[in-house]
Symmetry: D2
Subunit: 508 residues, 4 copies
């Protein structure tokens, strides 16, 4: 069988075929659930078909995965690191093919597609180093002949549920860390990006095979809510890392907590950029463009609210509208394209509904505001002038729609920034040290990512990624995020012959 | 007015009187809720009466507290540490009076009462040092002219809901850390230990007053479920630290999460001690006695399950039954008493119900098993031989009842240890390095506290206290527990004039 | 016997008398060396007489100290912390008396005297917290059934040789940390500040006595170079912490290294302040005044070089000369005095010699430049305009003499800043984030303390204090300075039955 | 031109030729010093000739290196990490060739040769992760509107002087870390292993070239003492990492300190293994064999002293003598060989001299003790019974000579272990937790590496490698060793408008 179009032929070089089973279960590819199509958002035509997981597939996979975890957690961490290093090398070899697949199936422009795969590779390299640094502590004991330790052990199995907008980076953040920490990984990719899920899984699984390790260590499923719920409920999965909307995230969290599991949530963002009167306006405008239009406004870190100091409000707005009008919209694979299609026809509909709501809530469209007639899911990059208190401003509209607002003082700007339920990212543009450090301080931004003179997005993997409040509180990638993937024990060893008690208690 | 008995007169030296309002609200003592009695569990007679908080008191207190948090979080951390140091000194001065009050109102023996207050003092001293070490990180950025920081800021207000069994230590674990981290504290003590709540609050509030700081920084309420629910629901309280049963804890967690707050849970324990055939039996028996009978079996770290290697099963059991029979039961203030009363008549009833269930599930009472006829809530320290798979063994019976079981291999013992929903503490007695380190490792104990040759209890404050699974996952006191009381931001500052993107992405 | 003047009577309240033996040896006060006078630099008259240590005293003291170290290092660290906490409280009680003594014997103004004692108290509080955080690491091993630890153990005995300018703060930085780390301390104070050495030692020794611990844990000697050399040569002293000139420091270092000991050096500083054209000039001028005139220019962090951007050169200079002329010179105990006497007549002579050299090397005196005729060692605060390449600018003249220089660019200013052999402290005044972060970066200041918009001095104890290059490289007080007071071991424990080798080597 | 023997032809595949210039200077291969031969210790015949560096070559190289450091230190650390990753890959590709070269030129057996190269590769992987974790700290300031940071910046140029016994691993420990830390590296390999120096440099330099970075970032010299002294004296080299004898190390240290540089010393070891009466004797004997005979006793971690509990003394000795007699001596490339030749004829002479001294000091040869007549530098593996107080036992005889001694108690064994000037490594074999933890504690072993149930050697890179006392105190490879390759600054930024002083001082 052949791919529908010749331009998809390269997919065979990363292990894909026109019809593929979508589960990697106990080291084998199979699937008995519904057959779905992977669709190119540029034209809403099929790229290939994939068979999703049935609950039986899931059970078979989880049984093997759970079993494999006993082997994997016994392997010394640096040996696990070596396997992850090889995964990085396998991805590096196919970087451009994978980036291209991301553009075709998700719709992001090619440089972003390649950048996303690069991020997984970076995570692998980072995790290799980490595999010798998952350090516990030796803590001084108050009792003679006692040694106190804090140790970290694997959890067992980590479930990773990812979303369409970063179909492989988020897997990378979680799986690279989870694996070196000694956990098996169960991955459910987004229902609309099955080819990416399969392609990544193929490369990963080959590495395990080459190392004569059970394929079940990395188990993956194409599938929808049914499989997601199975993961949430499954007591064999100690930690569920979920990326998606606040609404679904809260449900997952509650299910997981009922069975005494752990959750790592990366939920909705609603990110603001503040431009102070002393900002480098050129830098700010360029940053806003990337932050609001990049990935067609479908990043969790997309800038959705722009707060401009009143004294430069019109200047900034004029420049911004100007650059918006020059944004090249089109095929994400084409050089020069800045704005590709939204991911699905449904997303485009949401955009339309959103624009209606905006208007009914007093929003004024400064540029854009319409869908673009075509086979694909294209919409115009949109700027809206609106009150910070409008209801719609508190929500995450997953499209390239930017709300602009005016403020008079730093304090007012911070207040608006912090006034939404979500708390993922935020950014200020200023040249004043006082503003910079107050922005970072107790009365500054309340988000998990707090930037200065850069956009709200583009986090580096060395830091911890995640947000507060309705964003869910989880942290992925760097810093001490790895601790979430392990269980901590406070250990006290008495190696003497007596039994002194803490706090000097005398008992009996 | 005078105290009912002369032996309570010393209470006036720690600020208590026979009738006291039970809320410290906006720096003032007041209360408009129901009047309750503080009862001495030795004789079930009144010590004093206390007026609990009404919801109006709560609202007034929280408004002031929330307001005060703006001031407190701006005070540099080392200055906050100095205030906490003074709190420690204030407690130190009243150590013996407070310890005595603990014995009278809670029922624990005097050395344990004093030890508990000492633990709060230790926490103060520890927190002072911490006030200069709430360190964030400077992380190397992959972009030129960019600086990446991880910073930690106060959350605002931290709610602390404590239980009767450690009516002040748990407050100390939370409040000392929360305060140096820059948070105001709202405390709801256990409904049955209001005098301790009031006495501690008085000492703390005097320190704030002396430092000319708003009393509302430390707000406290005597009260029950109504106030507890108000705290859980209150969006002004960023973190709720809850100590209590798994059942209530899950409800609190869900309520807090619905409003996007954070939870720190210290829930039920069901802790086992394993005695290997190569153990120091004398040390082990003494440890089990303290672990199972101490605080009348009402510690969250109480040993409830004793796993004995078959080859020494009878020897250990004989010795244990022997020491159980010598346990001096009586007034906790009396020298030599090892076992005081249960905290309430209801606890005693639960004990009786528990014994019935044990019998109906095949448990065999080896010693004890009865309540002791008296004015107080005394019961016999009890040893039960039972199967590890009996339902009741999976639950936490809050009384001095110890289940003993036999095992053949280390692996079997660990499996039994890990077979309950709870995951707080566990301990092994052995002289083999192989057993010790396997016990600490990935296939060892799955609890948060993992001991060797000491009891399941008596944690030092330098380590993190808390447990996994149904125990809730929170960590209090030492290690990096403080991070839960702060919000983390990953900050990137561009101090150059260009806009390089992470992962080498080229946009526009 | 009585003190020479009534104003010295308060000294008896901190344990001093008109004639005192200057060694605390094996828990007893004695001394058989030369008798010396403690002199008040305000009038060069005797305060009291002190008998210094003989080499026999030294040997007796060290023998006892070395013996005591076996006991002290076995005490659990948190217990040692409790002792240090009590030392802090003892000092707190005598804060004002001690501060007053510092002013009288060293010559610094009273607020600085009290501030210096406060710093020791702060160090005690900090060290208490540290006593539960002297953490080693549990490191993942690449071999199965192996545990890798990094542990920290006491060194044994730490020698502390301090200088006259901070006669007790530097002791505090070292001794508080050394003690909680489990080391005994041997202190040789400056020969010209024996009363402070004795007063501090008395308070400390009383705490050890109260805790029934050997007095020899803290052994102290009044004495000069002979005792200093004895410390440097003594193989029983694992670490010598030396504060003083680069010249003497290098000699100490070489002696200590010959016997395989460790050194912690805090040597000369030669600190610059840079004022950029966008600086807050008022803030800068006030800072320079404190940095250059405070402690009569006898701090190691005293600002000795002032680099002013050419565009504001004259403005700053005019303001500075103006404030210099208003500096109140006089008795350090008097309210309002900013500049007390130099410490000794010899210091005054050095000042005079320095001024001559300055003139002969082309320096132009803008204000000051003379000694003040009086009984005491008073000199004028002095500003000198001079080329950055003059030889004398590379040296540390321990007096209130400030060299001012002009620059054109940030890069030029940094180059001048880094052009001296010393590398202790430096500061920039600017409002530009770019300047701030470049100043902190690889091409910025090369000193150990790098400030922005504050003077070169006034370090907080939470950070590490010390400098690079000729300043000696040691770090005291906060951060991980404590590691220098302990020995590190990398430990690997094999708890299995096999012998896998690292790097996968197969041997035999 | 061709290699002398066909078996050396593979060297051309790692960039070597029969005659090679031995300096990599400013990105080019050249050399104007003396011509030397690389000798195969198996037969003392020439492998190839190399031209060493002249002082002019050195100066040219250092000038370029110093210049290149400005570029390299500006590259963001994660970018530097990517370069080091590529170095690791380049070595991985040539692992077996390089391992073979090590065997031929240094004389170690092939598995050890390959293991050593593997260690450099492991270091590269580790350093990549580290490049995103060279973290400074954000420290709470006691002053409002102040931010305190601890930052780490590159030193500039790091000199690495390595020894013949680990001709590439030690370079790897230093260079991988130094490079990611932002330093250029100047390497002087051992005079007798020039081919390894050249081969490694070639691979490294190709990576820099591929990345379009100045070759001078990694500058390397074949040469002897003259070049070593030039490095020690050169003020452009901020840190000199020296591996070699204590005697030379002290001289280097003094020279470097005179010019205010830093030293990292890895000097002599004199390592003991203790076998307690409860040890696993089989494991112990196998470990001693590897520890004492491996690398022909020329590791710095070689076990030179064996302390056996008297109760098992004869048993252990009998087994040990037995395995010694079975050691296969011969060509290190041959499968099964455990003992290759000593590195040089001079080493063999030293062995002979050592044996004489041993005899004259009362040592009794139990097995071995003679050189083996052959073309190469072979000697017999030797066991000597001798008193722990004999002078020769305090020295490091760099040959496979093991001193055995008897002891009665744990304390006595530790005392003997600690009685030598050196403090690198030590190991105990025991099954008692009490012994294990005491061995790790304040009264245990005083060496930098403290092992249990494994040999004295075979350190993993995740821990810090190095020793105390005459071993020099430096630490390489893992843990926080990287801090030695950077300069630390304590930074305080005032972003407000006021000037509060630390310790609450009020000035003017």
């Amino acid at each position: 069988m052949e791919f529908a179009k010749q331009e998809y032929e390269f997919l065979s070089e990363i292990g894909l075929s026109p019809e593929t089973p979508g589960c990697f279960v106990n080291g084998k590819w199979k699937a008995h659930g519904p057959t779905v199509s992977s669709i190119n958002p540029v034209n809403n035509q099929k790229i290939a078909t994939v068979v999703e997981a049935s609950l039986e597939d899931y059970e078979e996979g989880m049984k093997a995965c759970s079993e494999a975890s006993k082997i994997w957690m016994e392997l010394p961490a640096p040996k696990r690191g070596e396997v992850v290093r090889q995964i990085g090398d396998a991805l590096r070899e196919k970087l451009h093919h994978l980036g291209r697949l991301l553009s075709i199936e998700m719709g992001k422009i090619l440089p972003e597609g390649i950048g996303e795969v690069q991020e997984v590779i970076d995570m692998c390299d980072f995790a290799v180093g980490l595999s010798r640094q998952l350090n516990g502590s030796v803590i001084p004991s108050e009792r003679p002949n006692h040694m106190m330790l804090e140790t970290w052990n694997p959890l067992g199995v980590v479930g990773v549920i990812t979303a369409f907008n970063f179909p492989c980076a988020v897997l990378g953040w979680n799986a690279c860390i989870a694996l070196v920490c000694g956990n098996c990984v169960v991955w459910k990719g987004a229902p609309t990006t099955p080819l990416i899920t399969i392609a990544i899984t193929k490369l990963v699984s080959e590495v395990f095979e080459r190392n004569k390790l059970p394929g079940a260590i990395f188990t993956s499923f194409c599938g929808g809510a049914e499989i997601g719920q199975a993961i949430a409920k499954d007591p064999r999965i100690s930690l569920v890392s979920f990326t998606g909307s606040t609404k679904v995230g809260l449900m997952v969290q509650q299910t997981v907590h009922q069975r005494f599991g752990k959750c790592l949530l990366e939920l909705s963002g609603n990110n603001a950029i503040i431009i102070m009167d002393d900002a480098d306006i050129k830098l700010a405008v360029r940053s806003v463009l990337f932050a609001a239009v990049g990935t067609a406004g479908q990043r969790c870190t997309t800038c959705r609210r722009l707060l401009i100091h009143e004294s430069i409000y019109q200047t900034v707005l004029d420049q911004l509208v100007d650059v918006y009008k020059q944004v090249k919209i089109g095929d994400p694979l084409e050089k020069g394209t800045l704005l590709g299609p939204l991911h699905t026809p449904e997303s485009r509909k949401n955009f339309e509904k959103g624009i209606e709501n905006i208007k009914s809530q007093g929003g004024k469209i400064l540029t854009g505001g319409s869908v673009i007639e075509s086979e694909g899911n294209f919409v115009q990059p949109t700027i809206v002038e609106i009150s910070p208190t409008a209801d719609i401003v508190k929500e995450e509209l997953f499209a390239p729609v930017l709300y602009v607002m005016k403020f008079q003082t730093f304090e007012e700007a911070v207040k608006i920034n912090n006034s939404v339920p979500q708390g993922l990212s935020s950014s200020i543009f200023t040249r004043s040290p006082e503003n910079i450090f107050k922005w970072l301080g107790p009365h500054g931004s309340d988000t998990g990512i707090v930037n200065v003179n850069i956009p709200t997005n583009g986090a580096e993997i060395g830091g911890a990624f995640g947000g507060e409040k309705a964003t869910g509180g989880g942290r992925e990638a760097g810093s001490d995020s790895w601790k979430q993937y392990m269980r901590r024990s406070t250990c006290t060893i008495n190696y003497g012959n007596e039994l002194p008690l803490a706090q000097g208690i005398n008992f009996g």
